[in-house]
Subunit: 360 residues, 2 copies
């Protein structure tokens, strides 16, 4: 029986509650596919600051290093908001994790579940039967990490920088992703103003020749911010650098109207023929205002576990099972508070997890 | 009789058509207030490339320099899209104009006219009775102009940089703007990642002490991109650096659903007691696909002329007249094609201009 080690980092706020549901679902998957999961828990974020003095303790890094993949909850809350930015739970945990493990590719699906299309802030005529956009964001380069950067109180500065190799690496992943979907890739840049983005467009254009089956186009980031609102269905895969991807992936997920449903994957480079190490987490935040009440929506966490199975463990069928189980429960009319609508049956975090697990 | 010189730069696409309507309206304003406008035309954008070899000829700069303000149409079109980015009409005209004239502050109202609230891509429940957000964008600093920047085909880089003075200058303007509106200012940054934005937040926070009557809050740019979609009515004035303002102002204007209605002002620093020099232009583009057909919506251009009167000439009442005239024509049910809806009366560019002028 194959055993996979999964580092489990529940974090703060609703993190621990929704993580428990994801573990339930994974346990059912293990039974179904005759494999076993070794869950290794570790502290991260605010709770790690409280217990160990920093958002990402060495021990947590070690736990992740020994695992096949990391399942991350969410971090942050009012308690730690007055710390200096780089020590705060989100910033202090996520950026170092990305850098240490070389998680260069962030995949963020913005999916409207047909059962929840009413929840979108956009009009029904724009949403149609729903949309499914995948934002591929570069995650370890660009202005997030470029040197020099500094602030002496008189002048603040940061450096946006990409090498052709970095662009090509994320570009390939985006083209491959498009190929497995509807073969349409829109590369986002600001080549009319930024030199970094001129190189970005050059590299992606050149790479496009290797993927003649994928239709490639380019769009300025300001226009993309408009087009997502005007007609999100025009997009299949959007490829962005780190900063633009941060903004557009959040905009895209808000447009679905169900942030509590959306997972994300942050992937490392894989050796030839191997699957990538990755960190998987919900797109939404730690929602401290509803933590501990048993009302949080665990679906984003469960789908993140599903992405983990698919991308880092190659268990595509298990991902499909989870997705189908979620759709089944939604079809039966069960909803957590955040996605509740008239005529539906409102249930809590635990019951949602049980019902999804029950369908595996 | 006071005479004002206005440099008129119609540009490409629908620019000349809609500019003609703005001139009609200004002529009526001149009559009403017993003043005169001396319109000095000049080429800019694609037409300037065709006629003079560059998007912003020296003569055009001279014409602007001699004027009290600049009324700009719109530039760009497929014909010039294959030029190198820095020679293209938009980039090649706008960035130098901003730099030469020190147009450090961009004001972009995103207004939903009550008569047109159906046009918003957002649901009626979110739009309510409409919203009115003012985006104040820094326009001559940040990553747009920071040095060094370059691209050698292997590595591309740009520098985001702001000095405390630059931040304070745009900050003051944003606080003053908020004061004249609903006294709520949200400053947008990414202080959790960018050093430039740590300084941004420090300076704006400090400045806030001088404006105790304005309620100040801070929001990360990724969150702002979400909040604009989730609940735009929470905003009064949004203050952004150059890059974030580029993205968010476009998103905000698309959310209104009537891009063809929205003006913008780009202002220079004013000497004590004087009004600022400024460049005024529609938020939308040159719409080459509908150019020359007499169907373009001239309202954004007319409102841009209105902002010119208010901000650079101090004719606040004339601005109000124009605004009221537009509302009057909308109330009567007249619509250009882009804002047409069932039961309304569709009219062309010229008739829309005539009707608005007729109400002055
Ligand atoms: C917390 C922050 C550093 C992070 C980012 O900007 O990357 C977050 O917004 C995200 O998108 O995961
Ligand atoms: C054309 C381009 C340089 C410009 C910008 O990015 O500032 C445009 O998008 C705008 O917002 O006026």
């Amino acid at each position: 029986m194959k055993t996979y080690t999964i580092a489990v980092l529940p974090g703060d706020g609703i993190g621990p509650e929704v993580m428990a549901e994801a573990e339930k679902v994974l346990a059912k998957i293990a039974g179904k596919y005759d494999l076993s999961f070794n869950f290794t828990p570790a502290d991260v974020g605010g709770i790690a600051i409280d217990r160990h003095g920093k958002a990402l303790p060495e021990d947590t890094v070690e736990t992740c290093r020994k695992a096949d993949a990391v399942l991350f909850g969410s971090v942050g809350g009012p308690k730690w908001e007055t710390l200096p930015p780089e020590e705060q739970p989100e910033r202090g945990a996520l950026l170092p994790l990305r850098k240490i493990f070389g998680l260069f590719a962030n995949l963020r699906p913005a999916i409207v579940f047909p059962q929840l299309k009413e929840a979108s802030p956009l009009k029904a005529g724009i949403i149609g039967e729903g949309f499914d956009v995948m934002v591929v964001r570069e995650l370890t380069g660009g202005i997030y990490f470029g040197q020099p950067k500094g602030n002496d109180g008189v002048k603040g500065f940061d450096t946006m920088v990409y090498t052709a190799d970095e662009i090509e690496r994320i570009g390939r992943l985006a083209f491959e992703t498009a190929r497995r979907r509807n073969s349409r890739l829109v590369s986002i840049d600001k080549a009319n103003v930024l030199s970094t983005m001129v190189l970005w467009r050059q590299v992606i254009t050149k790479l496009g020749a290797e993927y003649p089956d994928v239709s490639l186009s380019h769009m300025y980031v300001d226009n993309a911010a408009m087009q997502l609102v005007r007609n999100p269905r025009q997009f299949d895969v959007m490829l962005c650098g780190n900063m633009f991807g941060d903004i557009l992936s959040d905009e895209a997920s808000m447009i679905t109207g169900s942030l509590g449903m959306l997972p994300s994957a942050s992937l490392a480079e894989a050796s030839e023929g191997e699957l990538p190490f990755g960190l998987y987490e919900p797109s939404g935040g730690s929602a401290p205002d509803i933590a501990g009440q048993g009302i949080a929506n665990p679906i984003a966490q469960i789908l993140s576990a599903g992405m983990l199975l698919k991308y880092s463990l190659g268990l595509d069928k298990a991902y499909d099972d989870i997705y189908a189980a979620i759709e089944g429960v939604l079809d039966e009319g069960y909803r957590t508070a955040d996605i509740m609508s008239p005529g539906m049956k409102q249930i809590g975090t635990g019951e949602m997890g049980d019902r999804i697990a029950g369908k595996i």
